[in-house]
Amino acid sequence: MLKYSLILTLLASVLMADDVEYKGNIGVEASYYSHDIPNKRSSVSALHIEAEWKKSFENAQFVVKVKGVLDSDDKERRYVDFNDLYYKYKFEDSDLQLGRSTRFWGALEFYNHTDVFNTKDRLDDPFDYDSKIGAWNVAYTKYFGDDELSVIVKVHEEKQRIQDPKSVYNYFPLPYDDDLLTQESRNRPSFFLKYSGTSEDIQLDYSFIYENGYDEQRYMSVVEGNLRQNAYLVNKLLGFATLVSGSTIYKTELSYTFSSDDKVSDYAQIGVGLSLTTLSMEVMSFLRGRLLSLAKTFFTSSITPAPLLSMVGNTA
């Protein structure tokens, strides 16, 4: 109750302030699925609302982003969430951010396995990997020209809700209980140390991240006839980079996870991408103990500046 009172007070103060920059959009989702699975809906219709308010001060910024979904059938998909609700104070060459926020990490276009900061929002479009649940965190970033070093502390693990049993996206054989099981307390901090740099001599951007805390991936267990998610502690090393050579762009994402849970082995993930003027291809490998699976390839029309814009414009 106190949390929501605080949120509403902060939101009201932002909305009522002068010089507030705001934007938003309203969308209608309507889809039909041809299937013969019993007790599953064939169609989905929902209203989506996204709004963002930004108040800038001389050395600070206050940001509120809210997302609302109203599904005509699925009661689980009737929710409002403040994914970004943070205050950022800017020093001369650094900044301090407090609050709830989403972060977007990675270099590849299709799927980013280094994008581990937030829990994915499975109530929204399950194929939109950028649909996330905001995380409460404190972050300090020091800038060195185009390079930056961040220390981020996530202070709470978010639970993950899913669509109701009649949704085709709910494929669980047992009822799902969203009450998260954690190896230690749900408020056990997860620490992230991130360094991002840009090469002076070649066209290269790179980032390295170390995490000590809860893994973004989770496993399921059956508790009293219900499926529940388990969050486990890891030490994780991540890296991603983009290199431009001539008119070709090379991208890679790498990660290695040291699990501290007996039920999960250490695992590695590798993703590489290549973008030419008329072709974009990405290959991802997922290794858990031994090489298991997953190689995906896709093609897009182009990745050069202007066509990229038109491609994204169509998507948006």
Binding site: F104, E148, V244, I249, I303, P305, A306, G313, T315
Partner: protein, 250 residues
């Protein structure tokens, strides 16, 4: 009569005494020295049937010895609002360019070698938008004195040095009075006329000449793009920190 003839002769001699390179150097100097600028620009895209779409841009530029730094932010319409392009020019190597699209939420490094690619779907290429430093060209032949819209101009040929250029040559019209560029014709790799840019609305801001309007007409697809500078400030106090990658996400 003798006085008039002498004056005409002297004027003609002084006009013709300049080489294409010297004219280009003076044209560069006429608009250089703004240190940094912040401009609000209207970009009007005109398709072959004359239909127009309008975009508003905020353009920030910082002059540098080794190339300018620029950041362009789309202010409208809503579908491109917040899109930002950051460019760091370099002498002797490919420029650095990054793109931030609100829909992707990540800063993307983009290939700058494709200089002939369209800048934001307009008839301007990245090459046209970038710094037109006179050292980026070699100059051919002697300048001609011609009249363009009632103004006496030096007409000369310049050839881009960059091997990734989209042009085989450009013909420029430079005002003989103040060395401001009035018109440029761009010839494609097949050596045929591709585009014509007409520069107008020049005004002095803090002693620096600034262009007010550029109309770029593509002769091969009949499309055009008009850039109009609505607000323009120079010596704005921008620093290199205002052109760091982190600015794209703010």
């Amino acid at each position: 009569m003798t006085k008039i003839l002498l004056t005409t002769l002297l004027t003609a001699t002084s006009l013709m005494a300049l080489t294409n390179l010297e004219i280009a150097k003076k044209a560069d100097m006429a608009t250089d020295g703004f240190v940094s600028s912040i401009s609000k620009t209207k970009m009007i895209l005109v398709n072959a049937s004359g239909q127009k779409s309008v975009r508003d841009l905020l353009m920030k530029t910082l002059e540098g010895k080794n190339g300018d730094k620029t950041i362009s932010t789309f202010l409208s319409p809503a579908d491109v609002k917040g899109t930002k392009v950051l460019g760091h020019e370099h002498v002797g190597r490919d420029d650095d360019q990054w793109l931030y699209l609100p829909a992707l939420k990540r800063v993307k490094r983009i290939a700058s070698r494709n200089k002939s690619g369209s800048f934001m779907g307009s008839e301007f290429s990245y090459e046209d938008i970038g710094n037109q430093n006179y050292q980026k060209y070699t100059y051919k032949g002697d300048p001609e004195i011609v009249t363009f819209k009632g103004m006496k101009c030096y007409k000369g040929v310049r050839i881009p040095k960059d091997k990734n250029t989209g042009y085989t040559k450009q013909i420029s019209w430079v005002d003989t009075k103040n060395f401001l560029i009035r018109k440029v014709e761009y010839y494609d790799r097949k050596r045929t006329l591709l585009k014509t840019a007409v520069f107008s609305g020049y005004k002095k801001i803090n002693g620096i000449w600034r262009v007010g309007k550029i109309e770029m007409k593509n002769h091969q697809n009949d499309k055009a793009t008009i850039l109009i500078w609505k607000k323009d400030k120079v010596n704005t106090g921008l620093s290199p920190n205002d052109f760091n990658k982190r600015v794209l996400k703010q």
